[in-house]
């Protein structure tokens, strides 16, 4: 039996960044485990830089892909602008994640090679997932990412909380995978294919089996909602974010969430766009619940890390508005916001990593009393990140939020927008609370025993984050254009305008 691969050769091009990264992951694995590899205290830093080289190569490849013409929308792997923009976001998340984790990995004595390798492979999984046009591939990408992150969450074997985080993430993740899979199965049964273009076609011309499709969509919603941590499928998030090593949390909160959202968007706005009527109400309510519940609970958190976890859930709520709105503006807003979110959230976690200088200590908000005056630059940087998270003018967070709101407005989702801003007000409380501890409380008397050393990688990440956030807050035009052109490559745009939400 001859196998003819000529039709598959283009995958090598289409998946160039992923392949580069995957291969690079193996290289690092080999370097890391070989006796000639880097040893001693600097090992993790060096491996980190090495991993960044891979990320950089993937970035270059991704840029190169802009010059490549796609073979057609029938391909399982998309090389459209959307996928490429998604790659930027994910690679940015991964790169920044590596930068903020170098010192941490070293001081916690984690297994550096494995750490970076898993991080790289989860990146690969994410990139595959966002580029995929076939539910099978999406599922596999998701699983690669998930399995890697399960391990990453539990990777600090010295810490029971890390293990607990890993276990919870794993158990609940696997549980949700069941729903996702079941959904895929039902959609497959209803539409007769796992390829999203084919599904879209079948949904559009009505050949898809209505009852099965509806349940399939519902279960897919559940599956994706879990990954993006939408209420009530969010309950793993705070525990896992709190327990996992902080750099992993940072990475999870941005890249993983971004990947999930991008796949979510692609599936729902391409495959199910014509079934919009059947799913938008569900998503509308999930969105509302997510925004409200997350923001409310975040107000009572005492741990900054856990607060940021709830903040991440809240942001998921904001981002889901874009999916409910299902139009070009909203989709572009989603891309733009994810980019901003990646920058600011990693930045915020970066500061948390710096403050918790001996591992997972000093996470409580009280520990930040007087922080701003002891470390003015770090305080300022953190303040910018917080303001951006809160969505304040002058930062990218604001532009992103406005972008999302515009999408909602175009879809006439007025109530949703109102709820979004009301919950944003609630969110001001907990973001500003950190700022007030930093600047308005005096540090405990006596000399500062916690000298904070900012390693190079962290410095790069923070500076890049702050500059980009402010830049995107003031001059968002070019990036917005790119985001918009990226979604116009996504073949499907939702209904222009629908009625008011329930």
């Amino acid at each position: 039996m001859e196998l003819d691969f000529s039709n598959q050769a283009h995958f090598i091009v289409a998946l160039a960044p992923e392949i580069i990264l995957a291969v690079w992951g193996m290289v690092i694995l080999l370097v890391g485990v070989s006796s000639r590899g880097p040893t001693g205290p600097r090992a993790s830093t060096e491996l980190g830089w090495l991993s960044l080289v891979g990320i950089l190569a993937a970035v270059l490849a991704n840029g190169w892909l802009y010059g490549v013409t796609e073979v057609g929308t029938g391909s399982m792997i998309a090389v459209d602008r959307f996928a490429l923009f998604s790659n930027w976001i994910i690679l940015a998340g991964a790169g920044l994640g590596i930068l903020v984790s170098q010192n941490y990995v070293q001081r916690q004595g984690l297994q550096a090679a494995e750490f970076y390798v898993l991080l790289i492979y989860s990146t690969v999984g994410l990139m595959v997932m966002t580029a995929a046009r076939d539910l099978i591939v999406i599922f596999l990408g998701l699983e690669i990412m998930s399995v890697a992150v399960y391990v990453l969450a539990a990777i600090n074997r010295a810490d029971g909380r890390s293990a607990e985080a890993g276990l919870k993430y794993f158990l609940l993740g696997a549980f949700s995978t069941g729903f996702l899979l079941y959904g895929i199965a039902l959609v497959y049964g209803a539409a007769g294919s796992t390829h999203i273009s084919a599904i879209a076609e079948s949904v559009a011309n009505g050949t898809a089996h209505g009852a099965l499709l509806a349940f399939g969509i519902a279960l897919l919603t559940v599956g994706f909602s879990f990954k993006v941590s939408a209420v009530p499928f969010h309950m793993w998030t705070p525990d896992v974010y709190e327990g996992a090593p902080t750099p992993v949390t940072a990475f999870m909160s941005v890249a993983v969430k971004a990947g999930a959202f991008l796949a979510f968007l692609r599936v729902f706005s391409v495959a199910f766009v014509d079934a919009y009527e059947s799913w938008w109400v569900i998503l509308w309510w999930l969105t509302v619940l997510t925004m409200v519940v997350a923001n409310l609970i975040a107000t009572v958190q005492v741990s900054v890390k856990r607060m940021l976890a709830y903040s991440g859930i809240a942001h998921a709520g904001y981002l889901m508005v874009a999916i409910v709105a299902a139009n070009e503006t909203a989709a572009a807003g989603l891309l733009f916001y994810l980019l901003i979110y990646t920058l600011m959230n990693i930045g915020a976690f970066g500061i948390v990593i710096l403050v918790s200088d001996h591992g997972e200590e000093r996470l409580e908000i009280q520990e930040y009393a007087g922080f701003g005056w002891r470390h003015p630059l770090l305080g300022l940087v953190f303040t910018v990140f917080l303001l951006s998270l809160a969505g304040f003018p002058g930062t990218g967070g604001f532009i992103g939020k406005v972008f999302l709101l515009q999408g909602a407005m175009e879809a006439n989702l007025v109530y949703l927008s109102v709820i979004l801003v009301l919950t944003t007000v609630v969110s001001y409380w907990y973001y500003l609370r950190v700022a007030w501890f930093m600047w308005m409380r005096d540090a405990p008397p006596g000399p500062d025993v916690h000298t904070i050393h900012v390693p190079v990688g962290m410095r790069v990440a923070l500076i890049a984050g702050v500059i980009l956030i402010v830049y995107l807050g003031i001059f968002p035009g070019a990036t917005m254009e790119v985001a918009r052109s990226s979604v116009s490559g996504l073949s499907v745009i939702g209904p222009a305008s629908i009625g008011l939400a329930p």
Binding site: L167, K168, F215, L219, F233, P238, L296
Partner: protein, 718 residues
């Protein structure tokens, strides 16, 4: 003063119409006191700085240690000086106007004050007969009081500040009477209130005095509200606020006795009751005696408190068009006149007696303008300015002397309590004589000034009661009787004051009595001039009926109807309205009898009261204040001023304060802010409850996820 002006006019040969009249620097009249204020104010500020340094060091700065410093000598010349210049300038203009036979007011507009939309208020002054007579009183009497003050206040460390305030007061008072529109008048209206506030509380370290100033200001503001509202209504109707425009159109636009004009005039009445201390807002004036006595003379007797009368006279057309309001004005006036007079009967503080006397006399003026006798009201305003200023200044001289005497022996007696005085005529003969003249004038005894003005008011009240078409005729009869009664009371309490102060045994104490002395020259000369005016001032306006009679000097008095004629251009519109609507006024009093007869009756009666009172009281032994028993019975009620202050406190001030506290503590802090905080706290509380669901138990998480799935499936499947 007007006599003098007349004389001058004739002397320089100004006569009858001389074509269009150009006023001479009218703006300068206003500006001069302002200039004085600026100079004195600057001196005051620098002096205060010195004094403050001393106070901070724990002592008091003695300005007179090394002779008078410039800050305490310059005001002597600047303060009265600007007043003299202003007076002379006024005089020149007055004479000019006398010769010009002006029928239309002269208006000088300096700049556009408020210009927006259709509203156009110019910073303009209006010179007409009414404002001219007021300016004469203000600058003339004002000048005299400034001179008096030099003597009275010269030892006070706040000397420059005093003159600064006094000059500022004159400035605002001139703005009040010279303004060409209601808003400009309102500037003066509130400005004089401010100065009154500052001067009452001149010795601000004394809480009682400072509070008195505050009370005056706040009560006045209640009246000012009426003023504002009246302006608003007028603007609404006329789309302008200038006198000329409003008075020109008023007759054609307003229906006689219509609701709107009644509203406007009642608002104005509210304003007037505040400024002129009429029921129900008179309560601040007795307290205002806390200020230096010359201030009481100038502000709380001669000028500011008459602003309400001026307002009504100025708006005579409007009030003429509103018979109801006029009746209310007259009613409030006569009621106040009688009411205040009863209180004055039992006061022991010399200034309090004069204060209630002022309230009472202002009541007469209100009665006058209320019955449509605008000229009579202004006439009484003028004569009252003379004799009441004299009385206050005289009282000031007495207090000054008493104060010095008591100060010498450090006796902590009240220098103002008449029970501590007695027999002062021996020590202060000039004061004694001049004050008796004023007393006779205020008592309405022929031929003193007060007789002519008061008699005309009472007579006009009677005439209204018998007018052809006058509404509320019975009411006016009552007014007339009340007015007569009040006149008798006036004669009584003034005689009582004079007897207690100047006659009988001296009660000051022997060692103190040695230090009692006559007032210095700067103080008694103004007294003398005012005394002359109190005697002769009434002769400029002997009414027609009296002119040829014995009471009118059998017609030998020159220009005896002068004020009527002089003010005719201002009041003619009002008179026209009155004639058209009221018909002819009665020529006999309600009880019959003509003006001459009633003039005689009232003079004789008043004189009788004076003589009887004097006879009864002169020999009576008066206990000094410290040993006096508490009054009992009805006199206790009078002594306590009918408990009106207490009434206001109980039913107005306290409720407002209590309500304010409730609003703050309950409504603001609990309800409104409580709601705000509740929202915040509830948000967090809900968040806290929500966080409890996050149990850390995987089973729980799974359960909630499954519930979510179930709900979603149910929504889709059902």
């Amino acid at each position: 003063m007007t006599q003098f002006g007349l004389f001058l006019m004739q002397a320089v040969g100004l006569d009858e119409s001389q074509g269009a009249w150009e006023p001479l620097f009218p703006g300068l009249i206003i500006l001069l006191p302002l200039l004085g204020f600026a100079v004195n104010g600057a001196l005051a500020l620098s002096a205060a700085r010195k004094s403050a340094d001393a106070v901070r060091a724990g002592g008091e700065f003695d300005f007179f240690e090394n002779g008078r410093p410039a800050s305490h000598s310059l005001p002597t010349w600047v303060g009265p000086g600007v007043m003299l210049l202003a007076f002379l300038l006024t005089l020149v203009n007055f004479m000019g106007m006398l010769g010009a036979e002006l029928h239309e007011p002269v208006i000088r507009s300096y700049w556009a004050w408020i210009t927006t939309g259709e509203l156009n208020v110019a910073a303009a002054i209006q010179l007409d007969q009414l404002s001219m007579i007021m300016m004469m009183i203000i600058t003339g009497v004002g000048f005299l009081i400034h001179v008096f003050s030099v003597g009275y206040m010269q030892d006070d460390p706040g000397y420059p500040r005093y003159f600064a305030y006094l000059n500022l007061f004159v400035f605002f008072m001139l703005v009040l009477v010279m303004g060409a529109s209601y808003p400009i008048m309102f500037i003066g209206w509130e400005g004089v209130g401010l100065c009154s506030y500052l001067l009452i509380g001149f010795w601000f370290s004394d809480e009682e005095k400072a509070s008195a100033g505050k009370k005056a200001f706040i009560v006045n503001r209640i009246g000012d509200l009426g003023f504002l509202l009246a302006i608003f209504v007028l603007y609404l109707v006329f789309q302008q606020v200038d006198y000329v425009g409003i008075f020109g159109d008023a007759e054609s636009i307003f229906e006689y006795g219509g609701p709107v004009i009644t509203t406007v005039t009642l608002f104005f009445l509210l304003a007037a009751t505040g400024k002129s201390a009429q029921i129900p807002l008179y309560i601040w004036l007795p307290d205002a005696m806390a200020g230096p006595t010359p201030v009481s003379a100038l502000i709380h007797a001669a000028t500011m408190v008459t602003a309400g009368v001026y307002l009504v006279a100025r708006s005579s057309v409007l009030f003429a068009l509103a018979p109801l309001s006029s009746a209310v004005v007259a009613g409030i006036g006569v009621l106040t006149a009688l009411f205040a007079a009863t209180i004055a009967l039992k006061q022991q503080d010399i200034k309090k007696v004069l204060a209630y006397s002022t309230v009472s006399q202002l009541g007469y003026m209100f009665l006058g303008v209320g019955v449509g006798a605008y000229t009579a009201g202004i006439f009484h305003l003028m004569t009252h300015a003379f004799f009441k200023a004299l009385l206050f200044l005289g009282a000031g001289a007495v207090i000054h002397s008493m104060h010095h005497a008591l100060h010498h022996t450090h006796k902590d007696w009240d220098a103002q309590d008449m029970r501590n005085m007695g027999g002062l005529k021996a020590y202060m003969p000039i004061t004694w004589v001049t004050m008796w003249l004023a007393t006779l004038a205020i008592a309405g005894i022929w031929p003193f000034a007060g007789f002519f003005s008061k008699d005309e008011i009472i007579w006009m009240t009677g005439a209204m009661a018998g007018a052809e078409n006058a509404p509320y005729q019975g009411l006016y009869t009552v007014y007339w009787i009340m007015a007569l009664a009040a006149a008798m009371l006036t004669a009584f309490y003034m005689t009582r004051l004079m007897i207690m102060t100047f006659h009988g045994q001296n009660r000051t104490g022997p060692s103190e009595a040695e230090h009692l002395h006559e007032a210095p020259r700067t103080m008694w000369i103004p007294l003398a001039i005012l005394a002359a005016l109190s005697v002769f001032g009434g002769w400029v306006n002997v009414s027609t009926d009296l002119r040829e009679s014995v009471l009118g000097g059998l017609g030998i008095l020159p220009m005896s109807d002068w004020l009527h004629l002089w003010l005719e251009p201002v009041t003619e519109a009002a008179h026209r309205v009155q004639e058209a609507n009221l018909g002819e006024l009665a020529h006999a009093a309600p009880l019959g009898g003509g003006e001459v007869a009633w003039g005689l009756i009232s003079t004789v009666a008043a004189l009788g009261v004076v003589l009887v009172t004097a006879r009864l009281m002169v020999g009576r032994k008066v206990p000094v204040a410290a040993e006096d028993a508490e009054p009992t019975g009805f006199s206790r009620i009078l002594f306590n001023k009918w408990y009106v202050d207490e009434f206001y406190h109980r039913w107005v001030v306290d409720p407002v304060l209590t309500t304010s506290r409730v609003l703050w503590r309950v409504v603001d802090a609990r309800i409104i802010d409580g709601t705000v905080n509740l929202v915040g706290n509830a948000t967090r509380a809900i968040g806290w409850v929500g966080s409890l669901l996050q149990t850390g138990q995987v089973n729980t998480y799974v359960f909630f996820m499954t519930v979510g799935v179930l709900v979603i499936l149910a929504v889709i499947g059902l």
